[in-house]
């Protein structure tokens, strides 16, 4: 049996994805996430995990250095890479939304939107028939409306607490976000039996967890 390489984001998603894999019948050791190791091998199951930044997972998979990956739909929407989406793992649920100061309208002349997700924001406003100027930030997006940098922000919302604590309100929901099992199209064909088997088992495990 050949090795399957899976790119995973570090941290909570990794743990949740591991739980799913275990539920799907994969025999994985309990202590997997050694603080510094970037590659973890599980020879008994012929699996190799690459621990990556969440934004980089689709890059590894697209280039084929990882056969599979676990990536948030936010990252997939933003990067538009050619990877296959096989299974909705239903973990790390959140959603993408626009937010801003309460009771405000967007500037008529040059509405500005701050975000970490320029592609998603551009597409969303374009489809609504509005032309906006995107200001790309790397974090603490909530600051932008508070200090007058932007009229709206586009960001992921999980509980809504951060928005509330900063005096912002949600305006429109853009998309639901969950983590997905993605595959490199070549791996999907060349290692088809193993990958289809894993997708099937994970789908089942996801179904059981939902119940």
């Amino acid at each position: 049996m050949e090795y399957l390489t899976i790119a995973m984001p570090k941290g909570r998603i990794f743990e949740e994805a591991l739980e799913l894999l275990k539920a799907a019948g994969y025999d994985l050791p309990n202590e997997m996430e050694d603080s510094r190791k970037l590659i973890v091998e599980v020879p008994s199951e012929q699996l190799r995990f690459i621990l990556a930044k969440p934004m980089d997972v689709p890059v590894y998979v697209e280039h084929g250095v990882a056969d599979l990956g676990v990536a948030g739909k936010d990252v997939l929407l933003e990067q538009q890479r050619s990877v296959m989406e096989l299974v909705d793992l239903q973990i790390s649920y959140c959603y993408m939304a626009t937010a801003g100061l309460p009771d405000t309208v967007m500037n008529d002349v040059a509405p500005r939107v701050a975000t970490k997700y320029p592609t998603i924001a551009t597409t969303f406003f374009k489809e609504k028939g509005e032309q906006v100027e995107i200001i790309e930030l790397n974090g603490s997006i909530e600051l932008a409306p508070m200090i007058g940098l932007a009229d709206r922000i586009v960001d992921i919302v999980s509980t809504g607490r951060t928005l509330k604590e900063n005096g912002l309100v949600e305006y429109e929901k853009i998309a639901d976000i969950t983590s997905r099992l993605v595959a490199n199209p070549v791996s999907y064909r060349v290692k088809q039996a193993r990958i289809r088997d894993m997708a099937k088992r994970l789908q089942q495990a996801v179904g059981e967890m939902q119940r």
């Binding site: 199209p185 064909r189 060349v190």
Partner: protein, 385 residues
């Protein structure tokens, strides 16, 4: 914008250095030989074509086209594919002289980078087109040529996934009542977004039949079983597909390389019949693809069937174990008085197959470093004697 440094090339453009050039040449020569022996004749089309015709018909995303304006004010494109220009010349001229027509090409195409680097914007494709034949046997010939070519080049671990554009389109049209929903599903299939289809099925009530078909296909149900379970699919397209499938089963030595998958949808939307994609271990991207495109030639005023495929030479190079024949490289040093002798010796060595460089020794600044590029050194200068 930052200033351009003297060593920089435009985004996605690459140099082919001597070593790589030699490897490319070896593979290209072998591939060309294989294609010629199967009755295909090579042609070359221009680098520049009109945007109005080739640019629009080629079905590539407009953002991927390199556009420029000629001195008549016409919009031009750097050729983004070979199939469309070949359809142009075949419809205009070649098919009138020979029909069916078998053509081959080995040319670079240009497709602009849309994201970061790591992908070339100019790359060479090796390909075939069989024009004027609508039979399932012509489809089979393409599959056999693709698999045979890769095998003859020494590739072992490759997979050719075969689908049928007519069948999947028929399935979508028959099983999904709403035109808008059909487009969504087609989009998901092109993107290979199976989660998208799962979610679509969960929210759209009329999705049941198509979703059942989709799930059975993913689970690996055979074509025959699919046609039994979904009788609405039994059409001419299904029959063609079945004929190709039966033909594959009859090829013991190539059979293992083929996979049938009714869900294959190409991003090149001119395909009408059988479509296939070529994958090989070691390359993260598809090596090539092909299929039947019966409507394309109509756009050039001729209604004939056509089928073809292309393989990317750069991806092939990444994964092929290449044994470039390495002849002995000989260096002959000369001075004013020994040029005649040097040339005689060089000619003699060249007839034996050596690659011989004759070099005036005084012009070489660092002889030691220079000599490292050669296997043999013959010094005919006065000091050396």
């Amino acid at each position: 914008m930052s200033t351009i440094q003297p060593f920089e090339k435009p985004l996605g453009m690459r140099d082919t250095l001597p070593r790589l050039y030699a490897q490319q040449h070896t593979i290209r020569a072998e591939a060309m030989d294989y294609m010629r022996k199967h009755g295909y004749e090579f042609i070359q089309t221009p680098s520049l074509e009109y945007f109005e015709t080739i640019g629009k018909i080629s079905s590539l995303d407009e953002a991927a086209l390199f556009k420029l304006v000629d001195n008549q004010g016409e919009m031009l494109v750097l050729r983004p594919d070979l199939t469309t220009p070949i359809a142009r010349i075949a419809a205009a001229k070649l098919l009138k002289e020979k029909n069916p027509l078998r053509l081959a090409y080995s040319s670079t195409v240009f497709r602009a980078q849309q994201r970061e680097g790591g992908r070339p914007a100019e790359f060479e494709q090796l390909g075939l087109e069989l024009l004027g034949d609508t039979s399932a046997l012509a489809d089979s010939e393409m599959l056999q040529m693709a698999a045979g070519l890769l095998k003859s080049l020494g590739l072992q671990n490759f997979t050719i996934t075969v689908g049928h554009a007519g069948l999947i389109n028929h399935a979508i049209d028959q099983m999904i009542p709403d035109v808008k929903e059909r487009d969504r599903v087609r989009h998901f299939l092109v993107d290979k977004n199976f989660v998208g289809i799962d979610r679509w099925a969960a929210t759209y009530p009329d999705s049941k039949e198509f979703f059942a078909f989709f799930q059975q296909s993913i689970r690996g149900m055979t074509l025959k079983e699919l046609l039994e379970q979904f009788p609405v699919l039994q059409t001419e397209a299904a029959e063609q597909f079945l004929a190709v499938s039966n033909w594959i089963d009859d090829l013991p030595e190539l059979k293992e390389h083929f996979q049938l998958d009714p869900l294959v949808v190409s991003h090149m939307h001119y395909y009408t019949g059988m479509v296939f994609e070529v994958y090989a271990e070691g390359s993260g991207f598809a090596l090539g693809n092909g299929g039947r495109y019966d409507d394309l030639l109509e756009q050039f005023g001729m209604k004939v069937g056509a089928t073809g495929f292309s393989i990317r030479l750069d991806y092939l190079l990444e994964i092929l174990p290449i044994a470039v024949e390495a002849p002995t490289r000989t260096l002959v040093y000369t001075d004013q008085n020994s040029t005649r002798e040097a040339n005689q010796q060089a000619t003699a060595l060249r007839t034996q197959g050596n690659y011989v460089t004759v070099q005036f020794k005084e012009s070489v600044l660092d002889t030691k470093a220079f000599e490292q590029n050669f296997d043999d050194v013959i010094d005919l200068t006065k000091e050396a004697r």
